[in-house]
């Protein structure tokens, strides 16, 4: 109802419009250089005001052609390349590949090497999850957790560096065990690349310290009302989505699908350790955060057990100097911090694989994004993207 003021004119805010206005949707390009997209991801969104009617991720900006590159390199050279697929978890990328080659060549890595692989894989998992714990609240506007997580991640990375010599790209696995020697020469041949002295004590101290970090994060982030308001009930992945899109890892476990390659496939001796698979049922952004925080605690448990009953013995089985892999094909998967990572190797015999298919977790985890964003609010995009925890190198590879 319009009201007349003293001058007798109708105020515009009071005028009622009876015509239905055409408000066409707008196409919004986000990226490829956008800070909240974790790299070079371009999103094409159809928005109606603040609401997203459809969204499509455009991937491929980080494509480096790994599957083609590995066709012209021998197995030792591939190990150093595949470190870079998911650069937040370099060590976890190597393990399934090395296990696959070991199964093809029927070489078994000694127990001590297997345990070292478990310890370092779990350390990588912790460092990758701490990176998530730093970036996810940051994207929602909290900068303090970033400082805390990155500070404590350094303790893990220092230990990784003391063993492997690299913080991000360890390149410590070799077919048949861990990196054998500092050099192949006559004087260095006899030195084994075992754990450096003091590693076990330092690891135990790190485990204790990171347990404190988990408690800090519970107080700092988990109970924070603003964080809860931004994440609870946002971006719900249902168990159906998990099966349709092949989502794996913490994202699947946050939706109640308790699948973990560590428990289902014996690619490393995980059956010797007592640990749980944390699951949540809600499937929203908060569950994905909670699962990762719980996974850090479980990984610490595994590291503690593995370090304290580390078996003795050799670090590497006998492997011919020029490694020739017999003809055959094999698929081995492992639990990357992002989810299931697998290598399908086809060998025709010889030093170089014929074809390697790389299955990465982030690719499938990102594929569910259009489904989640359908009808969601644009500000929630940042929360959903952050909670999916993908790495563009892992998506495009």
């Amino acid at each position: 109802m319009s009201t007349l003021d003293q001058s007798g004119t109708v105020h515009i805010s009071d005028a009622s419009i009876s015509v239905e206005l055409e408000t066409p949707g707008m196409t919004l390009n986000i990226g490829p250089q956008h800070p909240s997209t974790h790299g070079v991801l371009r999103l094409v969104a159809q928005v109606d005001g603040e609401r997203v009617s459809s969204l499509e991720p455009m991937i491929g900006y980080m494509h480096r052609g790994y599957e083609k590159l590995v066709e012209v390199r021998n197995y030792a050279q591939i190990i150093t390349l595949i470190n870079r697929i998911d650069w937040t978890a370099g060590y976890a990328n190597e393990v399934p590949f090395v296990v696959a080659v070991e199964r093809l060549t029927e070489i078994e890595a000694p127990d001590r090497a297997q345990y070292i692989r478990v310890i370092l894989t779990e350390m990588t998992r912790i460092s990758a999850h701490l990176l998530f714990l730093s970036s996810f609240p940051l994207e929602l506007g909290a900068s303090t957790p970033l400082m805390y997580a990155v500070r404590d991640r350094e303790y893990v990375l220092e230990l990784l560096e003391s063993v492997t010599g690299g913080r991000f790209h360890p390149n410590f696995n070799r077919v048949g065990g861990v990196k054998p020697v500092a050099g192949g020469g006559s004087t260095t041949k006899k030195q084994s690349q075992d754990l450096p002295a003091g590693f076990i004590a330092a690891t135990n101290a790190m485990v204790k310290r990171l347990r404190g970090t988990c408690v800090t994060f519970d107080g700092l982030v988990t109970g924070n009302e603003v964080f809860l308001a931004r994440t609870k009930g946002v971006g719900i992945i249902t168990p159906d989505h998990v099966h349709q899109y092949g989502i794996s890892g913490p994202n699947a476990r946050a939706s109640g699908v308790g699948f973990d390659v560590r428990k289902h496939e014996a690619y490393l001796p995980y059956d010797k350790f007592d640990f749980a698979i944390p699951t949540e049922t809600d499937g929203d952004c908060f569950s994905r955060y909670a699962v990762r925080l719980a996974e850090i605690r479980e990984s610490l448990k595994i590291i503690e057990q593995a370090v304290n009953d580390l078996p003795g013995g050799p670090l590497r089985s006998k492997v011919p100097r020029i490694l020739k892999v017999p003809a055959g094909e094999i698929y081995v998967r492992g639990e990357n911090p992002k989810g299931e990572m697998g290598y399908y190797i086809v060998s025709e015999g010889g030093r170089i694989p014929y074809r390697v298919k790389i299955r990465t977790a982030s690719y499938s985890n990102l594929a569910v994004l259009p489904e989640l964003m359908n009808g969601a609010l644009l500000p929630d995009l940042v929360a959903i993207l952050g909670s999916l925890d993908f790495v563009l190198g892992d998506v495009d590879r």
Partner: protein, 158 residues
């Protein structure tokens, strides 16, 4: 779509504030870099050092390098016998040994495959350059790094 109502008196936020307040009085973990330098571990893969006397220019490292960033040239030299009637020996002489650290992936395969212990890792890391072409370290530069090679760390008893 927030399902959680902001509760009063924002207990969670104050709890977080308490944690940051406690951390305020803890020592800082960061290092004032150019003044204070951090020493990486002995195994850190910083830069590669070359022992030219040990190198026989066998090209194994250059061949095994995943991105082919090592350039080697050499020739055979004849050593005349000391005594008359002795055998003429041939000896490999290294002319050029360059590593392009702009290409290098720091994987360490070259160090690993060297059969004569001519290559070593050192944890030195301060060799950034303004020009990318200056990252190509030649024979003399690589030999300079040899002085910084640390002794391997003691091992955990197995």
């Amino acid at each position: 779509m927030a399902s959680t109502k902001l509760g009063f008196p924002l207990k969670g936020i104050f709890k977080g504030m308490g944690i940051t307040l406690v951390t305020l009085f803890k020592p800082t973990p960061t290092v004032n870099y150019p003044v204070v330098k951090e020493r990486p571990t002995e195994r850190a893969r910083g830069v590669i050092a070359l022992d030219t006397d040990a190198c026989t220019s066998c090209m194994l490292c250059a061949r095994e390098c995943p991105d082919w960033c090592i350039y080697i040239e050499g020739h055979k030299e004849e050593i005349q016998p000391d005594k008359p009637g002795g055998r003429v020996k041939t000896r490999a002489k290294l002319d050029r040994f360059d590593i392009d650290f702009a290409l290098c992936m720091y994987c360490g395969i070259c160090v690993e495959v060297c059969p004569f212990d001519a290559l070593f890792w050192t944890p030195e890391y301060e060799y950034s350059e303004h020009k990318i072409s200056d990252l190509l370290h030649d024979k003399d530069k690589l030999t300079e790094w040899l002085a910084t090679v640390p002794t391997p760390p003691a091992l955990e008893a197995s």
